[in-house]
């Protein structure tokens, strides 16, 4: 049994602590907002210039001036604030955001991450991903354990162009969770999806990691 998208998001949500300011990437990371633990209050940042993202709006609340970084319509909260892009990334680059959850194409055993381009394919750009991995205090990657062709995504050295070097703190896949306590340490397998064994994980991983 492997974890589905919602289970992966729920696992990432367990890393949230009361009072955290958090930036969630597009895709599975967005789902993390649906699994915030009881009693934990977090404030979501949108890098296009907002703190305090609310849920998707009701049809009659839709406002073209109120979107998230994925360009989706959202709503505001009573505690929200708006600011410009330079101030938004001052917040990110300056280390004021406690945690970000991002997708990735590859993560290397030294914490490098690649999630913005595939050579030969149309390059769309890195958006805010490079700023987030360089600036946020804790970086959690949520990704499938293997690519669609079955090849491992947690690997010795990234083969794709990098988004950041030595930045990832935790990897949550559909099979397992890897964590490291600091950026000088190797990743350690700390959790398995129900019914998945460490051997199965090791067989699908080319990165070195501790068990």
């Amino acid at each position: 049994m492997s974890w589905d998208r919602n289970q992966m998001a729920a696992r990432a949500a367990q890393e949230l602590q009361d009072g955290y300011y958090v930036n969630l990437g597009i895709g599975i990371p967005t789902l993390v907002a649906n699994h915030i633990p009881e009693g934990v209050e977090v404030t979501l940042q949108s890098e296009n210039g907002m703190l305090g993202i609310g849920p998707f709006p009701y049809e009659d609340e839709i406002d073209a001036d109120l979107i998230n970084a994925g360009k989706q319509t959202i709503s505001e909260l009573t505690s929200s604030s708006y600011f410009g892009s330079a101030d938004s990334f001052a917040m990110i680059r300056g280390g004021h955001i406690d945690l970000t959850v991002l997708g990735a194409m590859e993560v290397a055993q030294n914490g490098d991450i690649a999630n913005w381009m595939i050579p030969g394919k149309m390059i769309k750009g890195m958006g805010g991903a490079m700023d987030l991995v360089a600036g946020v205090k804790k970086i959690i990657v949520v990704m499938d354990h293997c690519a669609k062709d079955g090849s491992p995504k947690f690997i010795p050295i990234c083969t794709l162009p990098l988004t950041g070097i030595n930045v990832v703190d935790m990897i949550i896949t559909d099979l397992a969770v890897f964590h490291r306590t600091d950026h000088d340490s190797p990743f350690k397998l700390i959790e398995l999806a129900l019914g998945v064994t460490a051997e199965q994980v090791a067989a699908k991983t080319t990165a070195d990691f501790l068990i």
């Binding site: 210039g49 009701y58 001036d65 979107i67 410009g84 892009s85 938004s88 680059r93 360089a134 950041g164």
Partner: protein, 236 residues
């Protein structure tokens, strides 16, 4: 000193030339200076270098200038959702400098603040760092990024008073805030021009010094890229 112009074309009069550099505000289609972009297209000015977070979508925003082949180079962080862009980029007709979103915002803020260069951790060890100076501060590596200072900045605000003090609305502030400062002259379009004194001096986002020319661009029919909603739960 009159800052208010009757329309976008007159507001840009005398400011345009082939090969010029522009900063254009907006994020996706949110808060883009539509009227001014239309006027740029009509003016037919060519070989533009444009710093803008995105390049519009097909036939919306800067997508219009791409279609009319007026753009030589884009400096952007994300350019998806645009077929004509993709075609010109892949064929080599359009030059693109990919810049991390926060670095782009800071480069514009720096250019506007008289800072020709600053160091950032963003992009260290990646393609973005290629050809850039690396310097170590307190044992960590950073790369040198350059300020951006354009010939002309085009922005969209919500309301401005007749002196040029301007406020933005919600997430339409985005790149309009730093980009307004990052050029020799800034032309702004807003949804409403109000009397001096109607804005709270403590709540002005862009002081009048930055807004040299101003138009009321209303009415606006704002475009939404991804319309997401939730359902109202039935009353119990």
């Amino acid at each position: 000193m009159k800052k208010i112009y009757p329309d976008a074309a007159t507001a840009l009069d005398g400011l345009l030339f082939d090969g010029m550099h522009l900063c254009v505000g907006g994020f996706g289609l949110c808060g883009i200076p539509e009227r001014l972009i239309d006027a740029l297209q009509e003016a037919g000015v060519k070989n533009l270098t444009i710093a803008s977070n995105n390049a519009g979508i097909d036939n919306e925003g800067l997508g219009k200038l791409l279609r009319s082949r007026q753009v030589k180079k884009m400096i952007s962080s994300y350019v998806g959702e645009n077929k004509e862009f993709e075609r010109q980029f892949l064929s080599g007709e359009l030059e693109v400098e990919f810049c991390p979103q926060g670095t782009l915002a800071e480069r514009c803020r720096a250019g506007g603040a008289g800072i020709p260069g600053f160091y950032t951790k963003t992009g260290v060890g990646t393609q973005v760092a290629e050809g850039k100076e690396v310097k170590s501060f307190d044992g960590e590596d950073y790369i040198l990024e350059r300020g951006i200072f354009a010939d002309l900045c085009l922005i969209k605000g919500w309301k401005a008073d007749k002196a040029g003090n301007l406020v933005f609305r919600k997430t339409a502030r985005n790149f309009n805030a730093p980009m307004a400062t990052a050029g020799k002259i800034c032309v702004a379009e807003v949804e409403e021009i109000i009397e001096v004194g109607e804005l709270d001096p403590d709540a002005i986002h862009l002081p009048s010094i930055y807004v040299k020319r101003l138009i009321d661009g209303s009415p606006y029919d704002k475009k939404i890229e991804f319309r997401m909603t939730r359902e109202r739960e039935d009353a119990a």
